[in-house]
């Protein structure tokens, strides 16, 4: 088809003439006249349509239209300055705002910060300690004798028979008391590990905030006061809570604290606590006849999940933006 070749030759010629596209108005206009003017090359091709066989005409028409479109577009997109653009009279206030990159703070971090700030408000300091520790600091000094069934309460990862991934941040109370004389009043946030199968409700690691308050006259009643204050700050002033007897090797007497969930119609355990066992004091050469104290520990994940209604602990470790951007 002769016309097809002619179309290609006009296209090539335009591409040569428009590279670079002229910048001054006059040259642009003469280029436009040469190709798209009333007597321009494209118009000439359209005129040649009448010589085309009937059956080829639709195809030829399509090709020709494509060429015309390409050229028109080239002039539009290369129109110098603002000349070709239309005026904007009004700002469209309904357009979306410019997207800023927005960062989100992890719900566990938010929960940890809140817990820290509540205890710091009532005079607790914050301490940190090692995640890998020896049996003494993680178990023996906390009154978990070797071959005692209490050790079964915490499934443990071992690095060697004497070295463990800490199963609680209670190891830090031992480090603290080794390093400083009472009185002391600390909370200890940190990562702890349990050798438990991963499921929606348990993970191989979690974060704990443990607290310890030791002075000459710290009593069970003080423990109740401080932990009640914490629960009401954390879960609201009308939260119904209870202390019930329990067992931990490193406290005596020991308690667990539950809060009432109206929604689930049941008590939910949120922390364990108790008066520091004299054996713990003895293991760090603190005289249990003089010093008394209480200690408590809570799982950050549990509190975070309760607070935000998260039903699968694994979501906290997946880095899923669909989850994180909700916080």
């Amino acid at each position: 088809m002769i016309l097809k070749e002619s179309i290609e030759s006009v296209r090539n010629s335009f591409r040569a003439d428009s590279d670079p596209f002229p910048t001054d108005d006059q040259s642009v206009e003469s280029l436009r006249v040469k190709y798209l003017g009333r007597k321009g090359l494209v118009a000439g091709l359209f005129a040649g349509m009448k010589d085309i066989d009937g059956k080829d005409r639709p195809m030829a028409g399509q090709l020709l239209n494509e060429l015309k479109q390409e050229l028109t577009l080239a002039f539009e997109s290369n129109s110098p300055g603002e000349k070709g653009k239309t005026e904007v009279n009004d700002v469209d206030y309904t357009l979306p705002g410019l997207a800023f990159p927005i960062g989100h703070v992890h719900p566990l971090q938010q929960t940890m910060d809140e817990i820290k700030s509540i205890f710091m408000d009532v005079g607790f300091s914050v301490a940190y300690g090692p995640e890998v520790d020896d049996d003494f600091h993680n178990f023996s000094a906390l009154n978990f004798p070797p071959e005692h069934p209490a050790r079964d309460m915490q499934d443990t990862f071992f690095i060697d028979p004497e070295t463990v991934l800490r199963t609680h941040t209670s190891n830090v109370q031992i480090h603290l008391m080794e390093e400083q004389e009472p009185p002391l009043r600390h909370i200890v946030p940190g990562r702890v590990y349990r050798n438990e199968a991963i499921s929606f409700k348990s993970y191989c690691l979690f974060h704990q905030v443990e607290g310890i308050y030791v002075d000459k006259h710290v009593s069970f009643a003080d423990q109740k006061g401080i932990l009640e204050y914490f629960v009401k700050r954390m879960f609201g002033p009308n939260t119904k809570m209870r202390f019930r007897p329990s067992f931990f090797p490193f406290t005596e007497p020991s308690a667990e604290v539950d809060i009432w969930s109206e929604q689930r119609g049941q008590w939910l355990e949120i922390l364990g606590c108790g008066m520091v066992d004299p054996e713990v004091f003895k293991s760090v050469n603190v005289d249990p006849d003089i010093w008394h104290g209480f200690a408590f520990g809570m799982g950050l994940e549990r509190i975070c999940m309760l607070k935000y209604g998260i039903d699968d602990i694994r979501l906290l470790y997946q880095g899923d933006m669909r989850f994180l951007e909700q916080f």
Partner: protein, 795 residues
């Protein structure tokens, strides 16, 4: 452990619903749960079936009328056991059953049905679904079903803490409740029988190799027993705690265990193969097939009951199959012993077994309970299996287990409790748990009972007193004793600031698993910390860098439609730098990653801005600006060990505290991730926190006008713009307050291998209005230095 309320009631009188009793137990420290949740059955009421006839259009359906105390409703029911006169659980129209199933008015095969008669499964009470639940005659139409069912549920699940072996039995649980409820405890007859001559000694002799392993071993014989089915009362007792009846002999042993907590074992006397019982540790290579028909290799970890030669049972854990009671047994040897708790625990752990018996022995059985259990068993063998007791008992007790007297002082109790508990209450509580109590108001001498091995010290007595006094009755106190502790109450205070800045810059925080696979760890060159007992191969080592986790986060989010990411994490990474615990380094780090587009093209912006190295660098600049650190510099290095390449060290006060660069493609290839190029930063977080708290010091605002000039240099492509800018800054002679490259132009007109850089310079003096000549002389100096140093020319 499962506890039956009815069984408890054989020792104490109990009132209230099962839920009430469970709550009382929970508040005593015996965490109790009902296996059935009735709180969702509030809509259900008791109804009476007042008539029943066949459904005219369906063979298997009945057309009933149910009276709810007020009105009578037509109900179509499909259960085969429905009948006139029954009291049933009725779900009226509008009621919601467990599983959010709402009852509505319906037409079933042409007949109107207004409500449902429920089966136990529909109520969530059991799996029973063969028919409807039929209530007993106490039920009255119109009453709340919850109330009815609460008083008819029998079973409670107890979670016994390791310090309370005495509560692994109905009697033990009843004892605690009796103190709380101030009601008497009725104890079954465990009294020893008298005998003239000890005939049992001619049946069996006992030797104990090590009295520490086995302080006490009681044996006795009952002959002419008839092995068979247990009587119904015995079967139903065991069923009520979820145990299957096996035969009368075995059932007696289980019954005694559940009743008073002491494990006993029944041997078929004739299968023992000898009259001697020797209790000794296992030997290497020894084997025994236990009751569960598993052949087990034993070693010196396990204590064995032997016939002098071969093992017949693993002490305190499980009996042997060969000497087990069978249908043809006629003579039974009863074993009721006290084994050393750590010995049983070691053995059970070594064998990977945990049985009803081992659980009790590990936690500390009652050495006197062994004798009581023996006599109880003898009595039951006579009663239930028609046996004849061979008069006598063999009871070697080489190591007496005794309870020490403990002094409880009022002073210590008051300090620890923080409240007043009366003398009367103290004495009642301690006597209630079985202590011998002597003394007056300031101190008491107490000897705890043999079934409470957990009570050894004064503080243990105090625990019992406060526990029984009720934690809810201890007042809450709110007074503190002064300010304590050091200068900085939170050593991580700076971290909060850093987190708020980084998230403000657009980074989202993640927490990742610290446990990783060997494959991921192998990407970097650190010696890692490895676990002896990993959960799985994919979590066998501690992470050495935060980047593998962050890369996985990127990959995960790409696959879920979020390819444009800015993430960060803080936490510890670990290195086994030298051997042992002392050789483990915990490194506190902060790392971040960017991927995809920083900003996308939109109606406001024509082009995407990829999240590249310079976006990241801008973020770090922003971080330092907010931290008021103005002396940070970037020094090019090849790589850093945590997984960055083509990177720069971030240097503050001549110390590199972090790195920024391209994340090694080795992560993506080894971990098979779908990530594009990622850039990241990594900081020593302690170093960053140390400078996070830096206070800005205010510098006066200068009001003299600024003078701006642009310079356009042409230079070789190999010259780094940063070096040029550094040189310019150093030659500002005190009046160049700002300089930045604003354009880089590459074109043939500039020359092959050359680039033109436009630089904007801002001048200002703190003391006067600058004149052209002041600025020109500085600019001339800059041009000269840049030309000389970099071979640059002004364009």
């Amino acid at each position: 452990m499962k506890i039956s309320i009815d069984w408890l009631k054989s020792f104490i009188s109990l009132e209230g619903s099962t839920q009430d009793i469970a709550d009382q137990l929970t508040m005593l420290g015996l965490e109790a749960e009902l296996n059935v949740v009735t709180s969702k059955l509030g809509d259900i009421i008791i109804g009476e079936v007042t008539s029943r006839k066949k459904h005219p259009n369906a063979d298997r359906l009945s057309l009933c009328e149910v009276y709810d105390g007020n009105e009578t409703y037509p109900v179509v029911c499909g259960a085969p056991n429905v009948d006139k006169g029954q009291k049933i659980a009725f779900a009226p129209v509008g009621a919601v059953l467990p599983g959010d199933f709402k009852i509505s008015k319906a037409k079933i095969r042409g007949e109107v049905s207004q409500g449902m008669i429920c089966s136990e499964r529909e109520l969530g009470i059991s799996e029973e679904h063969d028919g409807i639940m039929v209530l007993n005659d106490v039920a009255k139409p119109g009453q709340s079903f919850t109330k009815y069912i609460d008083s008819h549920l029998d079973q409670i699940e107890l979670d016994i803490t390791p310090n309370r072996p005495d509560c692994f039995s109905h009697l033990g649980v009843a004892r605690d409740l009796a103190i709380q409820l101030e009601t008497p405890l009725e104890i079954p007859d465990y009294s020893p029988r008298s005998f003239k001559s000890n005939e049992a000694e001619s049946f069996v002799s006992i030797s104990i190799e090590d009295k520490n392993d086995c302080p006490r071993y009681i044996a006795g014989v009952v002959k002419n027993v008839k092995v068979g089915d247990s009587p119904n009362w015995l079967k139903s007792r065991l069923e009520s705690v979820g145990q299957r009846s096996i035969n009368n002999i075995v059932d007696i042993s289980n019954f005694v265990l559940m009743e008073m907590g002491h494990p006993t074992h029944m041997f078929d006397y004739d299968q023992l193969g000898s009259k001697e019982i020797l209790i000794r540790r296992g030997k290497k290579g020894e084997k025994i097939t236990t009751l569960d028909e598993v052949e087990r290799n034993v070693s010196s970890n396990e204590l064995l009951i032997t016939n002098g030669k071969d093992p017949v049972a693993i002490a305190g854990i499980m009996g042997g199959l060969e000497s087990a009671v069978t249908d043809s047994t006629t003579t039974v040897l009863i074993e009721s012993a006290y084994f050393d708790p750590p010995t049983v625990r070691k053995g059970a752990k070594a064998l990977g077994m945990s049985t009803d018996a081992s659980k009790r022995f590990e936690r500390g059985a009652d050495p006197n309970g062994a004798e009581k259990a023996f006599w109880r068993t003898v009595g039951l063998l006579e009663e239930v299996a028609g046996g004849e007791w061979v008069p006598g008992i063999v009871d070697p007790y080489p190591k007496q287990i005794t309870q020490n007297e403990i002094t409880l002082t009022r002073e210590k109790l008051d300090i620890l409790s923080g409240c007043d508990i009366s003398d009367d209450f103290i004495i009642r509580a301690l006597k209630g748990i079985g202590c011998d109590v002597n003394g007056k108001s300031k101190s008491w001498q107490c000897t705890p009972p043999s079934w409470r091995p957990d009570i050894e010290r004064e503080v243990d007595l105090i625990e019992e007193v406060i526990r029984l006094f009720g934690y809810e009755n201890v007042p809450s106190k709110y007074h503190y004793e002064g300010i304590m502790n050091g200068d900085q109450p939170d050593p991580h205070k700076g971290l909060s600031k850093i987190l708020s800045i980084i998230s403000g810059l657009g980074f989202t925080q993640v927490f990742n698993n610290s446990l990783q696979s060997e494959e991921k760890i192998s990407i970097l060159d650190f010696e890692s910390v490895k676990m002896m007992n990993p959960l799985s191969d994919t979590m066998s080592q501690l992470r050495t860098s935060l980047f593998p986790g962050l890369m996985e986060n990127v990959d995960f989010n790409i696959k879920n439609g979020h390819p444009n990411l800015m993430l960060f994490e803080w936490g510890n990474v670990f290195e086994q730098a030298e051997s042992g615990l002392k050789g483990i380094r915990e490194k506190f780090q902060l790392a971040g990653i960017v991927h995809g587009q920083f900003t996308k093209a939109s109606v406001h912006r024509e082009q995407d801005q990829p999240a590249d190295y310079h976006v990241l660098k801008g973020a770090i600049d922003g971080l330092f600006s907010r931290m008021n650190v103005d002396k940070a510099s970037y020094e090019l290095v090849d790589e850093n060990p945590y997984g960055l390449g083509n990177c720069s060290a971030i240097v503050v006060d001549k110390t590199p505290i972090g790195y920024i660069g391209m994340i090694s493609p080795r992560f993506a290839s080894t971990m098979q991730l779908d990530t594009d190029l990622c850039y990241g930063f990594q900081f020593d977080l302690n170093a960053l926190i140390a400078i996070a708290d830096k206070q800005p010091s205010y510098a006066g605002i200068v009001n003299y006008p600024v003078v701006e000039r642009d310079l356009n240099f042409v230079m070789d492509e190999s010259i780094r713009v940063g070096d040029v800018m550094d040189t310019i800054s150093k030659n500002g002679r005190g009046i160049l307050i700002q300089s930045e490259p604003i354009n880089i132009f590459r074109h043939k007109s500039v020359g092959e291998g050359q680039k033109a850089i436009a630089i904007n310079l801002v001048f200002q003096s703190a003391s006067k209005t600058l004149e052209d000549k002041d600025v020109n002389s500085v600019i001339d100096g800059i041009i000269k230095v840049v030309s000389n140093k970099f071979g640059a020319k002004l364009r």
